[in-house]
């Protein structure tokens, strides 16, 4: 099995990828419409919430955070896989990442944007959001630099801008291809503008490589720090169940995990919708699946570490939260998370499932569900079982508005993602060419070797 056929002509690569910008399968439009509808519903929910008050989320006084924060972490987590594929694997010279990193990187950007929306949706006075921005103002005061939430906002903003930059820089040669192959029109103008006059000269390539590498190096610690900081929103607090030392690595692992699962899902969808079977090949999928499996096991291990740490500590309150997770109101969700996050990925251990598209599709969705549940199980039980027993478990079940907003976020993300794939080449053409070239070289080398042996 090989990651890609070596006999694809470069022109065909251009042609295939450019085709994805023109006429995808019908399913594309169905997805786009569904996404738009979901997003529209969310906008309606937000308008209602904005005018009525946060109470429509059906959160209450001890349990002040609900689905929004859980989903926020979920989306932040989702963003990590893009960086993993594009930056980390780039540094490790893993060739197989090349056909798929572009959409993964787009996923990073868009899931960050979705996560950012949740910050907005969550705060009680959206119209005063600017209070949290550090800028000189006529009130003469600053935001609180001590608050993990502020670190969070900054980290996310930095990560988002770097991700956008990285996505954009990596796309420049392809944009030039698109510019050269596109009929005159607004698109060509757009590509012309964005291609920054790329000519493909040696000097440009040299600068390009250095820039790309630099940003990749910059992005990796950033990605790790972002989710560590999100973890510190919880770990820096004093609440039982949150005040856990292992939270940052746990969050990072969870992030990579959910990101990989999402990549599998999107891989399968894109492969079908844009007819990318030639590039997004099953061997590549298999590699992602194996990677995901490894991360799933790391995540499971870190889970166990957390439980063990809580159990062996003498912190009764934290222990009570853990027991409550397993046995209390949230038990079905918590066990659901364990099942989806630790048991379901065992399917990946079987070779025959590693390339079975329907199974993988279903499993990847389950993994995502599990990871979403994980986030909810981090947020909710601590609220319902904190230090102060008097306030335990007041009735709190997310309202339709809250669920609507969560579903809408998927709509919003899909919308952005689908539009991106339609407007920009979602498979990196120049890198696939490299890959094919490497493959050819490799073949030649082995042929030579064979011949030499004779």
């Amino acid at each position: 099995m090989k990651d890609i056929r070596e006999d694809i002509a470069w022109a065909k690569i251009n042609q295939d990828v450019m085709k994805s910008l023109e006429n995808p399968r019908k399913l594309y439009w169905v997805i786009l419409f569904l996404a738009l509808a979901a997003f529209g519903f969310g906008v309606g929910c937000e308008i209602y919430q904005y005018r009525t008050g946060m109470g429509v989320e059906n959160v209450n006084n001890p349990q002040v955070w609900g689905l929004y924060i859980a989903t926020f972490i979920f989306w932040i987590g989702m963003s990590h896989s893009g960086t993993l594929l594009s930056a980390i694997l780039h540094l490790m010279h893993a060739d197989w990442r090349k056909p798929i990193y572009r959409f993964a990187e787009a996923m990073t950007t868009f899931s960050l944007m979705t996560a950012g929306l949740f910050v907005m949706v969550h705060i009680g006075r959206l119209w005063q959001f600017y209070y949290s921005l550090p800028y000189p103002n006529d009130r003469g005061i600053w935001p609180n630099f001590q608050s993990p939430l502020l670190w969070d906002a900054m980290a996310i903003f930095t990560y988002l801008s770097s991700s956008v930059l990285f996505l954009f820089v990596g796309m420049i040669p392809d944009l030039a291809i698109a510019r050269d192959n596109m009929q005159p029109g607004w698109r060509q103008k757009l590509y012309t503008l964005l291609a920054l006059g790329w000519e493909g000269t040696d000097r440009q390539w040299r600068n390009f490589r250095v820039t790309y590498l630099t940003i990749a190096c910059f992005l990796i610690p950033l990605a790790v720090s972002v989710h560590s900081i999100v973890a510190s929103d919880f770990a820096m607090s004093q609440q039982p169940g949150w005040h856990v030392t292992s939270f940052p690595p746990y969050f990072v692992a969870g992030a990579l995990y959910s990101g990989c699962a999402a990549i599998i899902t999107l891989f399968i969808i894109l492969r079908y919708v844009f007819r990318f079977e030639t590039y997004m090949t099953l061997p590549i999928l298999k590699k992602i699946v194996r990677l995901t499996f490894a991360i799933a096991m790391v995540w499971t291990y870190l889970n166990a570490v957390e439980f063990a740490a809580v159990w062996y500590s003498h912190d009764e309150a934290s222990k009570a939260v853990l027991i409550q997770k397993m046995t209390g109101t949230y038990a079905p969700f918590w066990w659901g998370m364990i099942f989806c996050g630790s048991v379901v990925p065992l399917v990946f251990a079987f070779k025959r499932f590693q390339t079975n598209i329907p199974v993988l599709f279903a499993v990847s969705l389950l993994l995502n569900l599990g990871m979403w549940l994980e986030r909810w199980m981090i947020v909710a039980p601590t609220f319902s079982h904190g230090y102060y027993p008097w306030t335990w478990d007041h009735e709190q079940w997310p309202s339709l508005v809250a669920w609507g907003m969560v579903f809408a976020s998927f709509g919003w993300f899909t919308l952005l993602f689908m539009i991106f794939c339609k407007v920009f080449p979602s498979v990196s053409m120049y890198e696939v060419k490299e890959m094919v070239y490497h493959r050819t070289l490799h073949l030649k080398k082995s042929e030579n070797a064979e011949q030499g042996a004779h």
Binding site: G55, N60, N61, R139, W142, N144, S147, L149, E395
Partner: protein, 284 residues
Amino acid sequence: MSVSNLLENWAQVRHEHPNNDKPHDPYKWAMAIDLDACTGCNACSIACYAENNIPVVGKERFQHGQQMHWMRVERYWDEDGREFPDQGFQFLPMMCQQCEAAPCETVCPVAATNHTADGLNSQIYNRCIGSRYCSANCPFKVRYFNWYDYPTDEMVWPAEMQQQMNPDVSVRSKGVMEKCTFCVQRLSAAKVKAKGEGRIVAEGEVQTACQQACPTSAISFGNLVNPDSRVHKQWAAQQVELDKDKQAKNEEEEASELRGYRILEELRAYPSVMYLERVRESAV
């Protein structure tokens, strides 16, 4: 205003915990609540509603846990298999403990909750953007969020009832956090009066609404720095020290015969409210 503000004063913002170089002076507002005197009658809580423009949320929202009582009276009994709670209940008025190292203060992204020089944990409504992080990090869960726009709710504040609102206290609209302030509007007025006369506020000159209403005088409130204040005397007599997370009297071998304690003291929030344990007769 300026970067200099940031650079010069930043350290001060979080530097109000009592320590050697900067003790609270001349004020440190504190409370002592005698649980043996508290009968659980709720007068304090209702007085608080009256004084502080607290919205009455109604049955449905109460069911969702969205009640706003800054002062709640909790009720406990021993559930140890006895048929009847034959030693009665234990009541506990719970409100913001005005912690000296308040977990809520550090986490607010916009610094809407801060420590004041006289040892209060201030909440600035108009600065609040409603992230609710403070409440998430409050061990006592005594912060209350405005889930709805109560001032414009006909059921909560019909036009007639709006006339009862205390003009010295902001009416909170949706999306901001609120909590017990130790009736800061009264403190403020008393301080201004005293300042004008070049003295400090005397013991008994200012009362919180709950303290004033309490039929059994279970709540005492005052200036902990002032040795003449009842609160100071009570804290001293009970050997409860503000800046300790473990009181010396509990470290001794013999069990202390004093009943003063602070709730969840071990979390090192250094609450400003001391409770006195409820007493039960051993002879019956």
